[in-house]
Every structure is written in C-alpha cells, then in structure tokens.
Amino acid sequence: MPTDQTPGSIPGHENNGGVPRIQFEDVVKRFGSTTVLDNLNFNVGRGERVTLIGPSGSGKTTILRLLMTLEHLTDGYIWVDGDPLTHARQDGKRVELKSKQVAQVRKRIGMVFQQFNLFPNMTVVDNVIEAPIHVLGQSKEQARENALDLLDKVGLSHRVDAHPSQLSGGQQQRVAIARAMAMDPEILLLDEVTSALDPELVGDVLAVLKDVAANTDITMLIVTHEMQFAQDVSDRVMMFDSGHIIEEGHPDKIFSEPDHDRTRKFLQAVL
C-alpha cells in the first residue's frame, strides 16, 4: 500500500525548529491528460541525503524538476525551509507567487543535469563564475577565487580556460557540479548525472559527489541508477511507482530486504 503520509524526519537530521528542508504538500502534476504525481506528500530533513528510485515514468525526475521550477505545479505546494517556492496560501486560497519571489527561494537550490548543460560559449571558469557574479552579486575576483578553488576540488584546475567542447563527458559533469556548488546551495538536486557518461568516466564523477556528501551538510535529492552510490551516500531511499511512494527506508534495508513486491522486482532488474 502506498505510504504517502510520511513525516520524513530521520534522527540525526533534526529540522530547524521542526521545519523540514523540503516539503511536498498535496502535489499534483499533470502533463496534458497524464497524471504523473497525484497528491504526493513527503518531507526531506536538513542535510538529509535521499535517493529516489523506480521505473522511468514513475515521477522521480518530475519531482526534481518541480523543485527546480522547471515544471509548473498543477496543484499543491512546495515548501523550502517553510517558505513557499511557487505557490503560497493567502486567506485560505492558493496563490501563485511572482517570479521575483520565486527566484529568492530558488537561489537556495542547485541542480546538476544528465546532459551537463554547460554554456558552450564560455570557458570552464566563466561557466562557474557567471551566476555568483550576476545572481549573488559577488565581485569578479571573489567569484574567480571561489571558482578556482571548486574546480581544484573536482580535479580540473588544469582545464579552467578550456571550452566545454574540449572536455570529456565526465570532465564536463564535474564542471557542472562545481558550477552548481559555486552558488553555495542548501539543496542539491542530482538528476541521473552519470547516465549519459561512458562507464569509465562514471567513477570520477561519483567520487566528486561522495566528496561533496562527506564534506558538506548540503541536502541532496538524488535520482540515479547507480545503486552502489545510492547505498554509499543516502540516508533514505524512496521507491516510486506511478507517482506514489511505494516504500521508503534506510538503504541497507531497502536494498537487502525490501517489504514490497514491486520494490523487489525493480531491484532485481537493476542490481
């Protein structure tokens, strides 16, 4: 039976006075006549690492995209640290926020894409400093200093003046991670970030992400097929199917002794 009413607070990730980092409330998302998410409710605590697994079309990527405001909510609310992201409640009515208000909250969220999406007309370092300068208002020197530091952490300090087209997929993805981290986000969304990579390049990217997980307390929402990585990094795994959470729990439990049949079948297919 789908468990939609989930407090979602794991010990060790106490929320800020009880306010979860992320809260999905009665979220509905329809694409035309297809309902992908139907009254979805879940929370994510501060610093929590949650992996979403499930068959394609189950809604996992949609959740990330809704959080990043790349898709519009059909109904429901998304709260970030208790603040409304795109819609708020005013006098009992559901009100859409103006884009400036949305931008304020969205700044706390960063995303790394499956297709990297680096800006091809800019060098690596320019890609990383673009948003810090024009969104966070940092000075060029300060942004550059931070960028070089981040690029060093992801192992690309020798390619800072290269253009994305000169880099391998794995290198581009690492730049993408640095670019997202340069905004100092509270929440990092990872949308199948290794699915488009050649197998030999996957390890380097996962190493960078494990580094991020270990050395920061950033909240992470991860969609991935890399089950080992999920097990290494996650505090909680949520199994999705047809827009509902079928099962969730600690990765050790979910991966070894799942309760539900569908979870078991899915894991058998991918593991």
Partner: protein, 212 residues
C-alpha cells in the same frame, strides 16, 4: 555584335556604380536588417500573445509582398528622403523579416537544457539572453544572415524603380546610349557573379566551422 572596346569602356562606369551604390546599400541594409531581425525575433518570443500576433501579421505581410512596391510607396510618401536613403531603409526592413525567421530558427535550435541550466542557476532573463542564448543563437544564425545578405545584394537592381543610379541602371543607360546592351549587361552579370559566388561558398564553409 560584340564590341570589346565598349566592354572596356563600360568597366569603370559599372565598377564605380557597383562600389558607390550597390555595395554601400548592401552593407548598410544588411546591418540594419540584421539588427532589426533580432529585435523582431526576440519581440515575437517575449511579447504577450495580444501584442505578438499583430506584429507577426505585419512582418508576414511585408515578407509576402514585393520589394519594388515597398520601394515605390516609401519613395513617394516620403519624398524629402533621398532615394538612397529610401533604398537602405526599405531593403533593411524587408530583409529584416527574413532574418527574423533565421534568428527564430537559430534560437529554437538551442537545446532546452541551456535554458534549464540558466533557470537552475537563477540567472535573470536579461542575463540569460545576453550571456547564454544570444551568443549561441547569433553564432547559429550567422551563415543564414550571410546568405540573406547575398540575396539582398542580388536584389539591389530593384533600386531602378526609384531612380537610384546603381549598377544595372547604369548598364541599361550605357547600353541605350551606345545602341548595344550586350557588353554592359555582361559586365553587370559578371560583377554579380564574381561578388556573390565566392561569398556564398565562404558562407557554407563558415557554417561548417561555426558548428559547436
């Protein structure tokens, strides 16, 4: 039949008109239409539907009606403007409607992920256009803009309609004065060919080089 001395005599006249009128109009109009075309493309994309629709209609109307008629109406309606000025303005606006389509194609061909990355970084719209979209779109569109400039160049003889002494007008006049048209027309044709063909080839090469 063919008089080589006439051929030689006509060369400086036609080359002069080519340089002073044809090239000048082509260059100035191309710049105008490239700039205007970008304005239309962004406007059609960013304006609300009630404003974009009439703009689209006006641009389509201009694009689907003949250039000579546009030249004539502006020439007669604003007879304080010099014919050259009318020519540059009309060519500029007329071809801007084609170039707007080219820009549209160039902007549309930018992968959705670029827009999404800009959203993910919370880049404001103005910055997204200036730093991410336009540099890529213009790069995509440049070869097509070049091809349209070449087409415009071949349409400059339409300036005959408003009495601009461009190259083909001069050729016809020369032919009439010397009772033989073949030399002057051949020179005119050759000048067009020599100017447009290598440029077209260059545009194709440029297209291949510019692909990311």
């Amino acid at each position: 039949m063919w008089d080589t001395s006439l051929f030689i005599e006509t060369l400086p006249v036609l080359i002069g008109a080519f340089l002073k009128i044809t090239l000048v109009v082509t260059v100035l109009s191309s710049i105008l239409s490239a700039l205007l075309g970008l304005v239309w493309a962004i406007a059609l994309r960013e304006l609300p539907a009630w404003a974009a629709a009439p703009l689209r209609f006006v641009l389509d109307f201009i694009r689907m009606t003949p250039l000579p008629v546009h030249l004539l109406v502006i020439y007669y309606a604003f007879n304080n403007l010099s014919p050259m000025t009318v020519g540059v303005l009309v060519f500029g606006v007329h071809y801007s409607t084609y170039m707007a389509e080219s820009y549209r194609a160039g902007i549309d061909s930018i992968r959705k992920g670029q827009w999404e990355a800009a959203t993910a970084l919370s880049l404001p719209a103005s910055r997204t256009w200036r730093a991410v979209i336009l540099p890529q779109a213009i790069r995509n569109t440049l070869p097509s803009l070049g091809n349209w400039a070449i087409a415009m160049f071949k349409d400059t003889p339409f300036l005959i309609f408003i009495s601009v002494p461009e190259m083909v007008t001069e050729a016809r006049q020369f032919g009439g004065q010397h009772f033989s048209y073949v030399e002057a027309m051949t020179v005119a044709g050759l000048l067009f060919l020599v100017a447009s063909y290598p440029t077209a080839v260059l545009m194709r090469k440029l297209e291949k080089k510019l692909a990311y």
